[in-house]
Structure formats: structure tokens, C-alpha cells
């Protein structure tokens, strides 16, 4: 038997009871859950949810960026201070030899 060719003439092998689809429609429309019947709530709730998620994401990214900038500024200022102090110590500190000469010349 060649399935491709045979039985093609009669595709709908089952019938439905008389008036089935009309009755089905009426029965279904009466049994619809009332949640969406007259409200737009679901649609707008969906939009609000997306907007809230975007705002939250923006706040998180902003907070991470702000913290990073502050941390860099702190590290920079810390580094500057250390360098500055080292330089001061190098230029202005008096070693033992200089101190001896100074005291000898002063005849103290």
C-alpha cells in the first residue's frame, strides 16, 4: 500500500457532533476566567515590570561606576601623599655625617 497516494481522497476521517463548534464556542465564552475580562491590568503590569527592572539595572550600574571612581581617586591621593612625603624626607632629612659637621663647625 502506498500511503502517499492512497487515502488522500478522504482526509477528514472523523466528524463532529451536530452543532459542536457553535456549542463549544458558547460554553467556552461562558466559562472564561474573569481575570482579564475587562481589565488592562496585565498588559500595563508587564510594561511597569520591565520599566522597574531597567531603573534597577541603571541604579546598580551607576552605583558600581560611582564606587569605582571614588576608589581610584582615593588610591591616587594616597599614592600622591606617599610620594610627597618620601621626597620631603629625601631632601630635608639630615644624616649623621651632616649633623656632625654642623656641630663641629658651630663649635658646640
Amino acid at each position: 500500500m502506498n500511503v502517499q497516494r492512497e487515502n488522500k481522497a478522504k482526509k477528514e476521517l472523523f466528524v463532529t457532533p451536530d452543532g459542536y463548534f457553535e456549542n463549544f464556542h458558547d460554553k467556552l465564552m461562558k466559562s472564561l476566567p474573569q481575570t482579564l475580562l475587562h481589565s488592562n491590568k496585565g498588559y500595563y503590569f508587564g510594561k511597569i515590570r520591565y520599566a522597574a527592572a531597567l531603573i534597577l539595572l541603571f541604579l546598580i550600574c551607576g552605583s558600581i561606576y560611582y564606587n569605582d571612581i571614588n576608589r581610584q581617586a582615593f588610591l591616587y591621593s594616597e599614592q600622591y601623599n606617599n610620594e610627597y612625603i618620601d621626597e620631603l624626607l629625601d631632601n630635608y632629612s639630615i644624616d649623621d655625617y651632616t649633623l656632625y659637621n654642623y656641630l663641629t663647625e658651630a663649635n658646640i
Binding site: 500500500m1 502517499q4 466528524v15 465564552m29 475587562h38 496585565g42
Partner: protein, 186 residues
């Protein structure tokens, strides 16, 4: 109907579904338009009017409850087919769990079909349906959608999320299995 006009129709239907003033009337239109197609799609899988009726009702209730989630990225018909298919597969897997002696029931499928008051075919058709019922679910779906519902592979591919190549192979294997089953029966 061209693809462009179909998209326009879908956009119009979606916007009316979202408007509380026109929602019920639009949903009623969808039920009237798609019930027969979906009923036969389900019936080819479950082979029982009562079960098809239950699944069809569950399908439309699910559609109603998920109207807001439909973004219009696919055709409404595709979306409906997907929901109906999922509901049918869920029902079939549940029936497998519930039915302890399924093998005994399957062996008499042709007789059961012929005794169905809504069956409109002959003995050869009953044997054909019995052969189809022996296929794995996915192959059965592909075969029914191609053979009985005359859908294009491209459309079946969107509904089932399977490539066209895989569908063609699946249909080819299904036809071979059905032919072998019928040969054996004869």
C-alpha cells in the same frame, strides 16, 4: 492570504485583544475561526472526541490567560498550534502514566476506531490510523500535520521548533514505518 496581509490582520487582532473594550469580541472571533483546525489537530493525536473537546477547551483557556504574554513575534495561528500541541502532548504523557494496560488497548485500536460513532472512514482508514498510532509522538505529530493537515514543512518547523531537514527525514521514516505496518497487517 499573503504574508503581509496576514501580519496586518494579526497586528489588528493583537491590538484589539489588548483593548478591554474589544477583548471579548476578538477572542470570540479567534475561537470561532480556529476551533475546527485545532480540534482536528488534537483529534488526530488522541483519537477521541471527548478527550479532544477537553484539550481544546484547556488550549483556549490557556490562550485567554496568556494573551498579555503574546508579543506578536509569530502568527497567532502558530501560537495557537503550539499551545494546542503542548496541551496534547501533556495529555498523552499523562494518559501513558494513568493507563496500566496500554499495550492491550493499542492492539485493538482499529476496532475501537471503527466502533466510534464519529468515525467517517472504512476499514483501511482504521488500519492506517492504527499504524499512525504506533509511531513515536513526535513522528506522529509530523506525519499528521503534513499528511492530514497539509501544512508546509516551514510552518511545521515554526510550531515544533525543529529544522525543515529533520522534519522531512522524520516524515519519510514515518511513511516507511506505516507502509511496513500495513503490509504486515495484510
Amino acid at each position: 492570504m499573503t504574508k503581509e496581509s496576514s501580519h496586518t490582520d494579526d497586528s489588528l487582532i493583537i491590538s484589539r485583544l489588548r483593548d478591554p473594550e474589544t477583548r471579548v469580541a476578538t477572542f470570540s472571533f479567534i475561537v470561532k475561526k480556529y476551533s475546527p483546525l485545532l480540534y482536528h489537530h488534537i483529534h488526530h493525536m488522541v483519537l477521541s472526541h471527548e478527550d479532544s473537546d477537553d484539550i481544546l477547551q484547556n488550549t483556549f483557556i490557556k490562550v485567554w490567560n496568556n494573551i498579555d504574554k503574546f508579543r506578536g513575534e509569530s502568527h497567532i495561528s502558530t501560537w495557537l498550534y503550539r499551545i494546542a500541541t503542548n496541551e496534547t502532548l501533556t495529555f498523552l504523557s499523562q494518559r501513558k502514566i494513568d493507563s496500566v494496560s496500554l499495550s492491550n488497548v493499542e492492539s485493538t485500536i482499529a476496532e475501537q476506531i471503527e466502533s466510534d460513532p464519529y468515525f467517517n472512514g472504512n476499514h483501511a482508514h482504521a488500519i492506517l490510523l492504527e499504524a499512525i498510532s504506533k509511531l513515536p509522538e513526535k513522528q506522529r505529530l509530523v506525519f499528521n500535520m503534513k499528511y492530514f493537515e497539509e501544512m508546509k514543512y516551514e510552518d511545521i518547523s515554526i510550531v515544533l521548533g525543529t529544522s525543515v531537514g529533520a522534519l522531512k527525514a522524520s516524515y519519510h521514516i514515518a511513511v516507511k514505518k506505516i507502509e511496513e505496518y500495513i503490509e504486515k497487517k495484510n
